[in-house]
């Protein structure tokens, strides 16, 4: 019952990714200066853009959670930030490879995009330690949302500060896409962004579906076997949606918390 439309989304993502790689290897022209290595651009830049947008999206979901008190927004915010962190690591790695190939160093401080990307990573990497050091699941969701909102607002501000502090070395791909990027490159880049966005959405949908299925299974097992037979969720068990998880007393099967109760 969960994961509606997952198959269609999976197929679309697969098709888009295949199209992207085909275009990257067979259609997009070779860069005059950088040669073949420039093609990592079609992975690195879309991944980075999707990461930053996803962090802001996580903040929006967190704000919706605080506003509506609906735990599903907290789950979405958590999953979006989780997958964005993975994309962030991927973006840092591809960025370092590209920097090594085109500038000769694994890390270049003169480059605001890469530096602010690292700072954003270091900030969002604290989301999970913060979240899972709070025991009460309801408070955990609330505090994590507050953090996500602050961190989401931090993304553009940080970019402004770092960019003002550094000389420009990084290719300004978007600023020059009119004059600088040939049409074939721009087209490939566009398809690559679509593919990465689809991949991100797909991974998020999978994680949400997996968590919902797991909770439903847990609820069913509790009902069948009694609450003592099912081990309590550990601290590291992502946000609870239907049932209050955490270190519950386990003396009786507690009813699922409804939104109205949580809001009071």
């Amino acid at each position: 019952m969960y994961g509606k439309g997952l198959r269609a989304l999976s197929l679309a993502t697969f098709a888009a990714l295949t199209a992207t790689f085909a275009l990257v290897f067979f259609y997009a022209p070779l860069d005059v200066d950088q040669g073949f290595i420039q093609k990592i651009f079609y992975v690195h830049v879309p991944v980075a853009i999707v990461t930053l947008c996803a962090y802001v999206l996580g903040a929006v979901f967190a704000a919706l959670h605080l506003k509506t008190r609906d735990r599903k927004w907290d789950l979405r915010s958590y999953v979006v930030i989780h997958i964005a962190l993975i994309f962030n690591v991927l973006g840092l790695l591809t960025g370092a490879i590209w920097a090594k190939a085109s500038w000769g160093h694994w890390w270049v401080w003169d480059e605001p995009t890469l530096v602010s990307y690292l700072i954003v990573f270091l900030l969002f990497a604290t989301y999970q330690p913060l979240r899972f050091s709070i025991e009460d699941p309801e408070r955990q969701a609330r505090y994590a949302s507050v953090f996500a909102i602050m961190a989401g607002a931090f993304v553009p501000l940080n970019f402004i500060a770092v960019r003002a502090a550094t000389a420009y070395v990084h290719p300004r791909v978007l600023a020059t896409s009119e004059g600088g990027m040939p049409g074939q490159m721009a087209f490939t880049f566009l398809i690559a962004i679509v593919a990465m966005t689809l991949l991100f959405a797909l991974l998020c949908s999978y994680e949400i579906a997996s968590k919902q299925t797991k909770w439903q299974l847990r609820a069913l097992r509790r009902r069948l076997l009694g609450s003592d037979a099912v081990a309590p969720l550990g601290r590291s068990a992502a946000p609870a949606l239907g049932e209050p998880g955490g270190r519950s007393t386990g003396s009786s099967t507690r009813p699922a918390r409804n939104p109205a109760e949580a809001a009071s």
Partner: protein, 223 residues
């Protein structure tokens, strides 16, 4: 406004009767200058290096204060008092941020003097007016973000760990702006004028995070 003033008076009185945060921050910053002297192998510093040493020291000293900010509330039931009283909950945020601002200002009076004596190469007096402006804006950033992070971390199991790992990345833009902004003041050839670009970045940071923290603080005090 009055609840904030009352809460602020309580904090300042508490710190005066049993000084805790301020002496710790002071000793920490002076020993950090000594460590920088040996770590950098320099007798005097100037320019960007001096600005970096001063601002990073202040940032790390502030972390000590941020760690302690809500401890009395947590341990002595101050949160319950605020929740039971018929006042706006953000009054606590305003009071705590102001208290942290006052602590930092007091600490910096001594820290900057110690820095000028121990490490700074050029004369500190021409730099003073500009330094007061930059440090004032930096203190505002530290106070606003510090009060929020402190409230965020106080109910966690590992608050001493959570505060630095959350606060340091969050304060990076403020540190960049403050360090770059103070660098011309400490120039070896004599103080240059204050770069308005960095003041604008710091002011923007203060404004955005001040408003955001004010808006979301309510949600940290619900139970």
């Amino acid at each position: 406004m009055r609840p904030s003033v009352a809460l602020l008076r309580k904090d300042l009185l508490l710190e005066r009767r049993s000084p805790e945060a301020i002496p710790a921050m002071l000793l920490f910053s002076v020993i950090t200058f000594v460590l920088f002297h040996f770590g950098l192998g320099r007798d005097e510093v100037s320019g960007q290096l001096a600005a970096g040493v001063l601002t990073v020291t202040i940032l790390f000293a502030a972390i000590l204060g941020i760690n302690r900010l809500f401890v009395s509330e947590q341990e002595e039931g101050g949160f319950d008092g605020v929740l039971l009283a018929p006042i706006d909950r953000t009054a606590l945020f305003v009071a705590k941020a102001t208290a942290l601002f006052v602590f930092l200002t007091l600490v910096e009076i001594v820290t900057v003097t110690a820095f000028a004596i121990l490490l700074l190469g050029p004369s500190p007096f021409p730099a003073l007016p500009g330094l007061i402006i930059v440090l004032g804006l930096l203190n505002l950033a530290l106070a606003v973000v510090g009060a929020l992070v402190s409230a965020l971390a106080i109910r966690t199991r590992a608050r001493d760990l959570i505060v630095p790992i959350v606060a340091l990345p969050l304060l990076t833009p403020a540190l960049i702006a403050a360090a770059r902004g103070t660098a011309p003041l400490f120039a070896a050839a004599g103080a240059e004028s204050l770069p308005t670009k960095w003041l604008a970045v710091l002011a923007l940071y203060d404004l955005v995070f001040g408003l955001l923290a004010y808006a979301v603080f309510d949600f940290l005090l619900e139970d």
